[in-house]
Amino acid sequence: MKKVISANQAVSQAVRAARTQVIAAYPITPQSTIVEMLASFCAQGDLQAKFINVESEHSAMAACIAAASVGARTFTATSSQGLALMHEMLHYASGLRFPIVMANVNRALGSPFNLKADLSDSLSQRDTGWLQFYCESGQEVFDTIIQSFKISEQVLLPVMVNLEGFILSHTYEIVDIPEQDRIDAFLPRPAERPILDVEDPMMMGATTDLYINFRYKMHQAMEEAKAVCQKVDGEFRAVFGRGYDLIQTYRCAGADIILVTAGTIAGTCRVVADRLAAQGLKVGVLKIKLFRPFPQEQLRRALADVKKIAVIDRDFSPGCGGILAQELKSALLGSKPDISVHEFIAGLGGKDVTDDDISWIVEQAMKAREPGGIKWIGLLE
């Protein structure tokens, strides 16, 4: 059934449709409406889940880990400072190899205090062993949450689904919510895995000198996860007619320049690409949907023929630069040593990245012979 809902409501609807069994979360703007709606579903009996009120995000993740340790389908949602407070437990969730799904509504980290969109909160959690998806519409958010439960339960690693605060989280769009029996068929109860059982005691994650071996197994699972994500997306497309792949390309064949970004900025890039195509300039757009594991092979293939790349980062690693740009350059090194990657930082703290900004980015990158350092959009004169 098609509904006009916000992307946060799309998250809650997907978590309900997935028949999630345990939800533990702490409110934080701009995520709060996700857990408010889920609490309401639980109170009204629309979702047969245990809703655990906790005193912090660290405890929320601890409760999710405990729920996952006895085999429950588990969900939480957070943003920014909340995700930062979870940091320690994020490592535990992945190290224990538990399937947990989290929605993170991207918000800038303080200081200065800022409630609006910025991908630095989740990108700075890139080494925690969680899969990471980035979405650009309410429909993609709904579909990605459903897919994420299936992926997480297959690779036995937790999955973080990211959506930008306000720009996406509070924007109302048409979202198609498939019939419950079709979702149940797509997302059956997960296969058996080692869980805690009072009748058959065991210790999980106890001290061991074999540590490096378990890390290697996580590495293997991350590598295999790329194929699992692709397979689950293919199955989803076959059933529901919508799919997203690991990366999405638009007008990339024969392009003079390809804009690489993640999240909602990609949509504006496509509008600009259409407009510039009418003027004879071939601009491609590549959206990175899956950030962890990083789809290096897909990116190398998609960027094999282009001479110039401009990366637009709504995120920033102080002392280095845009995080997408770093990752992309590392992925291309070796396969494309002469590639010219122009780096732009834009939209930090929820600042709009407009069509004019993107046209300026294309213009700057096209006229520069060599990338001349990171360019910032929207600074005061």
Binding site: L96, P194, D200, P201, M203, G205, N213, F214, K217
Partner: protein, 94 residues
């Protein structure tokens, strides 16, 4: 018979460190560098050592309090708390 994962080959390992035992199998006594010794002449059986021990490593079975070697980490809290001064710490010889 307890289930057990083979720990010799990478492929035999579980996904995470799993042992089919309770935490009783975690013998923290191996960490000890000093051991508490109770002087039965001074002990008045008040039980404060048993209450304060964070690892339940003071045994309260039988007529007398004893140190549970398997779990005592040698932290010394019992010796600090004993109002009779009946517990002393000696260097562990291994």
């Amino acid at each position: 018979m307890k289930k057990k994962y083979g720990m010799k080959k990478l492929e035999d390992l579980p996904l995470t460190s799993i042992t089919f035992l309770t935490s009783e199998a975690n013998e923290t006594g191996e960490w000890r560098s000093q051991r508490p010794v109770i002087d039965p002449g001074k002990c008045n059986l008040c039980g404060l050592c048993w209450m304060y021990c964070p690892d339940m490593a003071i045994g309260a079975e039988g007529e007398f309090f004893t140190i549970v070697d398997k779990y005592c980490k040698g932290c010394g809290i019992c010796a600090q708390e004993c109002p009779q001064g009946a517990i002393s710490l000696i260097v562990e010889e291994r």
